[in-house]
């Protein structure tokens, strides 16, 4: 009650409460009674802590009697209170805006977004259950063979490590970009496995909005307790075209 209401903790007679507990302690036989006593001791120790805080606060230069402040607030005109406040107020300055690049991305997203009725039709039609293609699915569908995929992964890993030996990080898009869209898509797909297997990691520069691939000193174990995060990176023909223009 004292803690909740912020009342004066010295109004509680700690000494008398402890003496009362001491007096009745030999009479308690049941565990429940002793537990209640323990609870009471805990509450009394909280009061002592509040008393200590109370003294610290009163001895600080910020201490002003709350009754006095309440009186002032009640007496003063709101305009005068506001004026006093303005002299002590230094509002935070921040900018919250959309940059042209993000705005363009949003417009592109909007333009490519199918009407909700069409999306629902696709998403909930019984013939097209929601799911993702794992490498096993692609092998089953004979899109890739396990041997091919392993070789591609080893090849790309060697290429990545050779580039990373020359600099501490490389731009993600510089690395996955290839002369054709299909090849770029394949490289991005294989890189995602290299990262998942823990041979390298991604870091993001939020200001420049760039993604870098960085080597890991030791490959991260997939069983590692360290939480791995997923980072979706969109790649479509438009993005690839922009990359090509950037290269040109």
């Amino acid at each position: 009650m004292v803690e909740r209401k912020g009342a004066n903790p010295f109004e509680v007679d700690v000494k008398a409460s402890l003496e009362k507990l001491k007096k009745y302690l030999p009479h308690w036989k049941l565990l429940d009674d002793l537990l209640l006593d323990a609870e009471a001791i805990n509450a009394i120790s909280s009061i002592i802590k509040l008393q200590s805080d109370w003294i610290k606060n009163r001895s600080s230069s910020l201490y002003i009697d709350p009754i006095f402040i309440e009186m002032k607030i009640r007496m003063l005109d709101p305009k005068i209170i506001a004026e006093a406040f303005l002299d002590a107020w230094h509002p935070i300055i921040s900018i919250d805006q959309i940059f042209p690049k993000k705005l363009k991305e949003a417009i592109d997203y909007w333009n490519n977004l199918l009407p909700l009725s069409d999306r629902w039709k696709e998403d909930f039609s019984p013939s097209s259950p929601i799911g993702t293609f794992e490498i096993d699915d692609l092998i089953k569908l004979k899109v890739v063979s396990l041997k091919d995929f392993d070789e591609k992964m080893k090849g790309l890993l060697n290429e990545l490590m050779s580039k990373l030996s020359k600099s501490d990080k490389i731009d993600y898009w510089d690395f996955v970009y290839a002369d054709t869209f299909e090849e770029t898509l394949e490289r991005a797909y294989v890189v995602s496995f290299i990262l998942t297997e823990g041979y390298a990691t991604l870091i993001i520069d939020p200001l420049e909005e760039r993604i870098f691939i960085m080597p890991l000193k030791e490959p991260r174990k997939t069983s590692s307790k360290k939480i791995a995060r997923s980072l979706p990176i969109a790649l479509n023909y438009e993005i690839w075209k922009n990359l090509r223009e950037g290269k040109g």
Binding site: P66, F68, I69, P78, A82
Partner: protein, 182 residues
């Protein structure tokens, strides 16, 4: 550090601190250290002298404790950094920014009351005092707004505390002194 490097880091520091990145404004010290390097405080000091010309300042709010002497590295890592107005604004500027004078008075009274009660006060007590001067609907609306915007925080027992934003923006000592002087 070369002049070019200092200039690059200054720009980066101002971008990081000006642009809102999280729902809660400001950046933690460790975030600045990650972006600007171990000696990030020297960049912040430089930024502060540049901001001074624009009546702005970098305000450092330490977690839980009031740090008066040189803060430790750990305290700086956990501290939150903001850019605030340095010298007080005129009433007309504040009103132009969308605040009503009676809303400011309600905020001032609430914060002063909480400070005087060792940093916490039951919401019902605050409401009771505010209702002496403002209608109930306005008191409810204002307290909700102050909590939502971080000027106040509230626990499950309906106890109000000084919020993170008030700690960043309000010179508590000055507020109390000015109120007493009125």
């Amino acid at each position: 550090m070369s002049e070019k490097e200092i200039s690059r880091k200054l720009k980066r520091a101002s971008q990081l601190l000006f642009f809102q990145r999280h729902r809660k404004l400001g950046l933690r010290g460790w975030e600045l250290k990650k972006a600007l390097g171990k000696d990030f405080m020297s960049i912040i000091d430089l930024l502060n002298s540049e901001l001074d010309k624009l009546n702005l300042q970098v305000k450092v709010v330490f977690e839980d404790v009031e740090v008066t002497e040189k803060p430790s590295e750990e305290q700086l890592d956990k501290a939150r950094f903001f850019i605030t107005i340095k010298n007080p604004l005129a009433v007309s500027d504040i009103i132009a920014s969308g605040w009503r004078i009676d809303d400011i008075a309600a905020l001032a009274a609430t914060i002063a009351l909480i400070i005087s009660r060792q940093g916490k006060a039951p919401k019902s007590d605050v409401e009771q005092i505010l209702r002496e001067k403002f209608p109930k609907w306005k008191v409810d609306m204002n307290l909700d707004r102050f909590i939502r915007t971080g000027y106040l925080s509230k626990d499950d027992n309906d106890i109000l505390y000084v919020g993170w934003r008030a700690r960043a923006e309000i010179d508590q000592r000055m507020l109390m002194e000015l109120l007493l002087a009125k």
